[in-house]
C-alpha cells in the first residue's frame, strides 16, 4: 500500500460530495417555494407545516432514520415506488439516502430563507406591483435578490449538515461501499478497524473542506454586500 490515497478511501468522499450537492440543490428548489409560502401565507395551519419542517432539528436522527426505513422499505410507499423500475426497496440505495438527507436537512435550508423573505416586508412588493411587475416578476427581481443572504446561509448549512450526517444514513443507507458508504460512516468504520491513519486523512480533509466552503460563501456574500 504505497499510495497515500487509495481507491476505497476516495469513493466515500465522492459519494458524500454528490449527496451533499444534490441534497442542497433539491432543497433550494423545493425549499424556496415552501419558505415563500411560510413567509407570506396568512393560512392558520401554516405553523403546523412549519413545525413539521422543523421536526428533524429536535428528533434523534435514529428515530427519523427508523421511520424512513419503514417508509422506504419493501412494505412502505418507497418500496411500491421502487417496484415501478423493478427494485424491491428504496432503503440501502442512493436515491433513498438522498430522500432521507433532504428531509433531515430541510429545516437548515428552509428556515434561513423564510426569515430572509419575512425580513423584506410588504413595501418592496407593493412598490413592484405599482411599477407593473407581476407577482412572478416581483419574486425573481425583488424577493430573490433581497433574500440572497438567506439563500447563502441556507445553502451552506444544508450542505454542511448533509456532509456530517450519520445516524439517518446508518439507518437507511447502511454501509455499502461505493453505493451508500458516506464519509462519516467510513471514518467510523476505519476507527472500528483500527485504521487510524485513514480515519485521520478523511477527517482532516473534511475539516479543511468545510472551512473552505464556509469561507468562500462568506466572502462571496461580503463582496455583494459591499456593492449595495
Amino acid at each position: 500500500m504505497d499510495t497515500l490515497i487509495s481507491e476505497n478511501i476516495l469513493s466515500p468522499i465522492f459519494l458524500t460530495l454528490a449527496l451533499a450537492i444534490l441534497t442542497t440543490l433539491i432543497l433550494l428548489v423545493v425549499g424556496t417555494p415552501l419558505a415563500w409560502w411560510l413567509a407570506r401565507s396568512r393560512a392558520d395551519w401554516k405553523e403546523v407545516v412549519a413545525a413539521l419542517v422543523t421536526m428533524p432539528l429536535v428528533i434523534p436522527p435514529t428515530v427519523l432514520g427508523f421511520y424512513l426505513l419503514i417508509l422506504l422499505g419493501p412494505d412502505g410507499p418507497g418500496g411500491a415506488l421502487a417496484s415501478l423500475w423493478g427494485l424491491k426497496t428504496l432503503a440501502f440505495t442512493f436515491p433513498g439516502l438522498l430522500f432521507g438527507s433532504v428531509l433531515y436537512s430541510m429545516p437548515f435550508v428552509v428556515q434561513p430563507i423564510r426569515i430572509a423573505f419575512e425580513a423584506i416586508g410588504e413595501r418592496p412588493f407593493e412598490v413592484a406591483a405599482t411599477l407593473r411587475a407581476s407577482p412572478w416578476r416581483a419574486f425573481w427581481t425583488v424577493a430573490v435578490p433581497l433574500a440572497r443572504p438567506g439563500f447563502l446561509t441556507g445553502a451552506v448549512l444544508g450542505f454542511a449538515h448533509t456532509l456530517g450526517e450519520f445516524g439517518v444514513v446508518l439507518m437507511i443507507g447502511g454501509n455499502i461501499p461505493g453505493k451508500t458508504k458516506v464519509l462519516s460512516v467510513a471514518i467510523f468504520d476505519y476507527v472500528e478497524m483500527g485504521d487510524w491513519r485513514s480515519a485521520h486523512i478523511l477527517s482532516a480533509c473534511m475539516i479543511i473542506f468545510s472551512f473552505c466552503v464556509v469561507l468562500f460563501m462568506n466572502s462571496f456574500d461580503k463582496y455583494f454586500r459591499r456593492k449595495i
Binding site: 418592496p124 412598490v127 406591483a129 407593473r132 435578490p145 449595495i228
Partner: protein
C-alpha cells in the same frame, strides 16, 4: 361637482375603528389634493385607487377605463399608475438607473429622449450609477418620483412624498414637483396634511375627515367658502393664479393681472406674461370705503363683499369679489366685528381692499 370630471370612484371599506365611505369625482388633469388630519383615511383612498387595497364595495373609473366595479377588480400590477410612497422605498439592490427603469419594461414608448427628459427634470444625472444608500433622503425621493413617471402612468398617486423630509429637503423637491405639474399632462392625486404644500401645488381639493368627504371643489372655492374649516382657520388664505402684466425694474415690482383686477408684488425680475400663483392671507387684507387714502400699502383694489361670517366674539371673516362683476377672484379678509359695524358694512357693499403682503408660491410657467 366638476362637470368635466374624468376620475370617478366609490370606495367602502372598514379601517380599524371607523368606516371609510368615499365617493370621488375629480378632474382628469392637474393636481388634486386629498387633505385631512392624520388617520382620516387619505392613504387608504390611494391604496384603493392603486389596487393595493381591495375595498369591500367599490368602483373606480378613469377616463372611461374601468379598474374596479361590482364584478371586476384589476390587480395593482395591471393598473397604469405611478405611486410615490411617503418613504422613497427604492430597491436597495439596484442602481439608481435600474431603479428608474424597473417599471419601464412595459413602457414601449420609452426611448432615450424620454428617459433623459425625466432624469433632467428631476436632476438625477449625477446619481445614475450609484446605489440608493449613498443618496440623501431628498435625492432618493426624487428617484422614486422618476421611477413612477417612467412606468408611463395614466395617474400619479403621491402619498405625502415630502413628509419624511426636513424643511430644506422639502424646498429642494418642491420646484421639481412644480416643474412636473407644468411639464407633464398627467393627473396627480396628492395626499397631504400640510396646507402650505397644498396651497402651493393643488388645483383641486378634497377635504376628508374620519373616512368621509367634507368638500370637493377647486382649491380657491374651498379656501373662500366660509362654511368650510379652511376659511375660518387661523391662517386662512386664498391662492390666486395670475400673469405678469408688466415689471417695474426701477422699483422691483411686478404687476399681476388676476381675475377682476391687478395686484402689485415686490419681487425679483420677472418676464411679462409669466404665470404665477399668489397667496394672500386673510389677516393681511383690510377694507376701506374710500380709494383716496394715502398709505404705504401697494394694493388698493375695488371689490364687493359677497358674504361674511362671525369667526369668534371679536372677529369676522369676509369674502370679497375682486372688481365689480362676480367672476372676479375671491379674496378673504379678517376684520374685527367692531370695525365692520363702525364702517356700516353689509353684504353687497362695494369697498376697497388693502393687501399688506402677497407671497408668490408657485411658478406656473
Amino acid at each position: 361637482m366638476m362637470p368635466n370630471a374624468k376620475i370617478t370612484g366609490h370606495f367602502k371599506t372598514t379601517l380599524g375603528n371607523f368606516d371609510l365611505d368615499i365617493a370621488l369625482n375629480i378632474p382628469g388633469d392637474g393636481i388634486t389634493a386629498l387633505y385631512g388630519p392624520t388617520g382620516c383615511g387619505k392613504t387608504t383612498i390611494l391604496r384603493c385607487i392603486s389596487g393595493l387595497h381591495r375595498a369591500r364595495i367599490g368602483h373606480f373609473i378613469i377616463n372611461e377605463e374601468v379598474w374596479q366595479d361590482k364584478n371586476y377588480f384589476r390587480p395593482a400590477y395591471e393598473r397604469a399608475i405611478g405611486y410615490v410612497f411617503q418613504e422613497a422605498s427604492l430597491f436597495p439592490h439596484l442602481t439608481v438607473r435600474a431603479n428608474l427603469l424597473y417599471g419601464a419594461h412595459n413602457n414601449i414608448a420609452l426611448d432615450d429622449k424620454q428617459f433623459d427628459q425625466i432624469v433632467d427634470l428631476l436632476g438625477l444625472e449625477r446619481y445614475l450609477d450609484q446605489f440608493p444608500k449613498s443618496l440623501s433622503g431628498g435625492e432618493q425621493q426624487r428617484v422614486s418620483i422618476g421611477r413612477a413617471l417612467l412606468s408611463n402612468p395614466k395617474l400619479l398617486l403621491m402619498d405625502e412624498p415630502l413628509s419624511a423630509l426636513d424643511k430644506t429637503k422639502k424646498l429642494e423637491i418642491m420646484p421639481f414637483l412644480e416643474r412636473l405639474h407644468n411639464t407633464l399632462r398627467l393627473p396627480i392625486v396628492y395626499v397631504s396634511h400640510d396646507l402650505d404644500e397644498i396651497e402651493q401645488l393643488a388645483d383641486y381639493l378634497v377635504l376628508i375627515d374620519e373616512g368621509k368627504i367634507i368638500a370637493s371643489d377647486l382649491l380657491y372655492k374651498i379656501q373662500s367658502d366660509p362654511s368650510l374649516p379652511l376659511a375660518t382657520s387661523h391662517n386662512a388664505a386664498v391662492s390666486i393664479d395670475g400673469s405678469i402684466e408688466n415689471y417695474d425694474a426701477n422699483y422691483g415690482i411686478a404687476r399681476f393681472a388676476v381675475e377682476g383686477g391687478f395686484i402689485n408684488v415686490p419681487t425679483v425680475p420677472m418676464n411679462q406674461g409669466d404665470r404665477h400663483r399668489l397667496k394672500i392671507y386673510a389677516s393681511d387684507v383690510s377694507l376701506s370705503l374710500e380709494s383716496g387714502i394715502k398709505s404705504t400699502i401697494e394694493n388698493l383694489i375695488p371689490a364687493v363683499i359677497i358674504s361674511c361670517q362671525k369667526n369668534n366674539a371679536s372677529q369676522m371673516i369676509v369674502v370679497l369679489n375682486l372688481g365689480h362683476d362676480l367672476n372676479g377672484s375671491k379674496i378673504l379678509a379678517r376684520v374685527t366685528r367692531r370695525s365692520w359695524d363702525r364702517l356700516g358694512l353689509v353684504v353687497g357693499r362695494a369697498v376697497y381692499i388693502q393687501i399688506k403682503a402677497v407671497s408668490l408660491v408657485r411658478n406656473k410657467e
